[in-house]
Symmetry: D3
Subunit: 263 residues, 6 copies
């Protein structure tokens, strides 16, 4: 293991993202390491897991590894995408996962963080959803994750502008449970973890599993889903997606085409 | 066109309600003008639409044209009501609609505003849902709109008291995305519109459509719906509705009957 | 009637919990008195009901009567549990129920309060969900009540830590409609009640009933429910539940077993 | 009681429609008698109820009392319609209701019969759904009743042609459990009733209630329902409904207008 | 128009598939002609449409035009596939569509026929679903169409064997409304059409639309859908699909690979 | 392995129940052997599995091992019951499972058989659901299995009478795919298996998985489920269940109490 650091003590596991040269981007390798750690913690009977960055930097995680996204013509966010498997691993982990956030959280990393059970950050925490910058059509389960956790107008603002939401606003929106000063962050997270460890692990894991089932209970009909999937397909076969990925790689602003006037 | 003003430039359409002698009430005529403008903007390839009042006044819109409501004995909020058609047009418009709010927003206008994708107001913005003053039974899809966007206790407070929610509280509740000083309102709205225009229109329209489908995914069984419809029918055939409309027309407080004691 | 006090005047009913030697615990006797009062108020045509404690104390209600919970081996929160019947009575009462809160609200009392339509407290109001301290697996409909009303990360924090949420944070979270100074609390509640009484009772009761139906519209498949029920059963047959109840009775901290490592 | 005959013996209740001069039409009076009998049987601990006509005639029941249907402009099949209340009483009766059918079953009587738990007829049994002859828009819960019980192409054939389905085809379609010769019908029904009485009433009533809940689990979104309700409203405000009722009263074939060509 | 023949008289439209050299395969051109005819019939106020083959041949329709299916790597049955658009046009046509069947009906043509409202055939009628012969993963809405209309074990037999179901068995299964001798088929279909024309078009179109909504009410969660979509994607990127299309084109039996043993 | 016999050849696995002294009752031991065999077949890449009895006897399987059912006071059909695990294993097996039936199929074995994908029997095949004889409240997912596969009146007849449905009627009801003479049964089953093996395993497994997801899509709300669960609990704590199990063990007819008259 090279891209993350882990510890386990007193029923608390800790996973630190530690690949800052890539801004902790959630590459397939890093994702696999995290999933393996979660599996190990589960076998060790972890009662809480802390997910954090190894050190306080400007960026907590840059999100998807853009160079691992398909160039075009294929769904970039399928069910068996590495990140999707990680989200599933967090949702089904039988104890709470606490995200400890310092710095900015981008795109897929934002989806990862909101899938954690409890989120605590310092004043540098900030959150952005970036598919509108990449020309990428987000997947429906991901949209549902955000809808289940944030006010609808905020979900739309985040998806339509791709701009950062700062720490204070994130706290007001309950995007995070709380924001504390940087100097107190570790202590606050550890205190929360210790409280959880002192409670009944059985009672907690049943509640987590039931809330998970209820969270996925917003269902749509197959024909509606296929309609949305056809819109998504048109998008990932389209020019915006090509341009978005290209511009990201070239570290320049994308130059998206104007939409064709519609009948 | 006489009740609204419109402009279109740089992929941004703007619609200004401009019939203040009727407090911008959403009459069938005005609604038809708005829908026609949205259709035009769609054909022009608009990437954002701004919905606003023509000038800063005490009232943004008084809501439904009460003199266009049926007197009694017929559902006052059917699916093919003009306002319902407008809500549908906003929800299915293939780009974000930003509501820019100065002054108070009443009843049906409040439903219109929360169906917009992003809402920005100044300190005079205020919001009230008024069917409890009119004795009118609200439609279920309208209640779902509010439930999808606001905390349940707040939805109930608004529907049960019909009192105004002021700008600061509206911001805390995420009823609006943000409140800014009046002097900065237009600039803030334009900045948001420009950001959206710079992003991928394709990515945004897919996300909007998927969120729309998920918003309507709260379904109830036909028998439950028919039960609620029977309660609504008893209401619009009842004395409260007659008195509410009458009182509104006579600009006096309604004098609702006490409910009959129930078995 | 001995455990509560009631009044009825001007279409407003009031119920005061008045058994402070047991910290207003929701014993079967007290629950039956409250339900009987609600039935009486309904027959009297009440247009609003206020639910409060008889006097301002440190505790509003301690929640379930722990000594009435089954020792083990049987679902402690079945559909026909007295408290569940009370929640149903509040949800189906044909007029708004306002909770007036002074002091701390624990466990089942917290479920009762969030099922009220409008909640107003003073600075001493505080809220905790305690099953994780008792080793008790909460029921799915109860979890849905919280999910319908609070941000998901907050629901999890409350269920996983069992710690109190104070008045100011409760207001920011819309767990309550508003927090006012203790000296103004009664006046504020009465003003809200008077406003509601002046509105159309018919319009309000239809809206309440429809919102109730929509609140229960999050459905899951039988097989999912049976899976969760099996987890719950393992919990109430397990050692944590026995220890949690025992510790509570002995007024000491529980000493929960570590979860067995899982395959 | 005058329109029905009832008996109760050995835990089996029997209700015989006995108003042949009106072809056992399900008038409000007759419906109220049936519901009262079901309530009485419930209090007597009935383990099976048989619903039949008093004697073998050409018609089992003519269905809704057409002269009790509203002339126009109001939903003819609301939730609180007498027949709807009867369907609900049959569905929620805590023991099986067996329909014993001789002769033809029309319209609302057909909805009544398929809501019975078990249906046995002789060779004269025949079934028709008649709203297309009356110009009447059927209610959604009624359509769901048929969809839950019959192949979709058959539901459509019945609703679109209003023609009778004969005994043999009804048996093949499982519209009825079985068809037996007239001479054996009473014996067959009694044998089935005796078998049920010998089984566990508790096991049976739980299964019936659970199947009832699952039957109503096909839910649609409020906006879809309101769309269909608007179609229904246009229908009961329209000319076909007026002509259909008029023609029925005058015992002549209706002369429906051609549909207006659509855009 | 060259691939179909149409007539319109007495409110009944008729569409005859007439491209037997291609076994009436549902090519994009033929589909577009059928949709255009339906649109025309709608504008003419058609009260019934008959869909048939131009003459009695061995094959009613061969189904999808296999040479128009994508070779690989792209969903072969997306929402905007021509055949999907035709199914949607049939489902939303505001009057009944009667399928008149002589000869065998294959694959996509079978989906088309079961989406018709009423189906009448002669003794040569036979039905097969062929994706298992092509290695093609069927779409979820298509599977739901079959599940809504046929017993589950029969749906599976048809999808897993791809074998023909003959006329008599099809009648027993209610796959068709009825089977009549070839000499009586046209008369039977015309009689059914005339009956429908004599009924209330308004009542019928409301029932059809409501049944359509209820048919699509089987919804699944986004995450479930994405899981199935990932299975489908693996299939249309896989070797079976390539081989299936190739073998069909070469008019030989496919030689599918054995599935890899799974962990 | 001792209670079943298995073979594997040409991609077809076969499992024969072989414990006739216990009438092939589905004891925990036998269930575990079947599940282990399915797992083995999966690893071998089986494309079809045949589930049968070792020899043609009067009874195919007696169902649940009644002496393994809990005496009382605990849910006899929980999610983690051995038989439930077997049903899940059959439903998620990635290839078709064909049930080959000779003789009578009772209770839980009937649930097992209808969860198979394809069912073929001879003239001795017969099917009964027996909880009403045992006083046992069936689980909701099990009721849904039957509702998904059989006409509602038949499900009720089977659950309310516990009587056998014979081979011919089973075929008419599509409870089985087909009934063939005993002498042809093995050949017929093998032919069906060979056809399936010749088709695309990928196409088939995707269809099976999607149909499985759609089958579980009938969802009910938590509060409805908890209501039914309370009825079930009252049943398995009640006297009928005790008497039913006792009578079965003593091989005598149960003597169920009359239901208490209800208010
Ligand atoms: Ni999940
Ligand atoms: Ni019901
Ligand atoms: Ni559709």
């Amino acid at each position: 293991m090279a891209l993350i650091q882990t510890t386990f003590a007193d029923s608390v596991g800790s996973i630190s993202l530690d690949h800052y040269e890539k801004r902790n981007a959630l590459s397939e390798s890093m994702v696999n390491e995290i999933i393996a750690s979660l599996d190990k913690f589960k076998s060790q009977g972890a009662r809480t897991v802390i997910l954090r960055s190894a050190s306080a930097e400007k960026v907590w995680s840059a999100g998807h590894s853009v160079d691992e996204l398909p160039r075009a013509d294929i769904d970039p966010l399928p069910y068996d995408d590495p990140l999707e498997r990680l989200l599933q691993a967090v949702r089904t982990f039988p104890a709470p996962v606490i995200a400890m956030i310092q710095g900015s959280v981008w795109g897929g990393a934002c989806d990862l963080v909101i899938n954690c059970d409890i989120i605590i950050g310092d004043e540098t925490a900030a959150f952005a959803i970036t598919p509108a910058k990449l020309g990428l059509p987000y997947n429906v389960s991901g949209l549902l994750n955000f809808m289940n956790r944030l006010p609808l107008v905020v979900v739309k603002e985040m998806f339509f502008t791709a701009d950062l939401i700062g720490a204070e606003r994130a706290e007001n929106l309950s995007l995070v449970n709380k924001i504390v000063p940087a100097a107190e962050l570790e202590a606050e997270v550890n205190k929360m973890a210790q409280t959880i460890v002192s409670r009944s692990a059985t009672s907690i894991s049943v509640a987590k599993e039931a809330l998970h089932a209820l969270s996925e209970a917003s269902s749509i009909s197959p024909i509606q889903y296929e309609y949305i999937q056809s819109l998504r397909r048109n998008a990932y076969f389209g020019s915006d997606y090509l341009e978005g990925i290209q511009a990201f790689t070239e570290k320049r602003a994308p130059n998206f085409s104007k939409p064709a006037p519609k009948a």
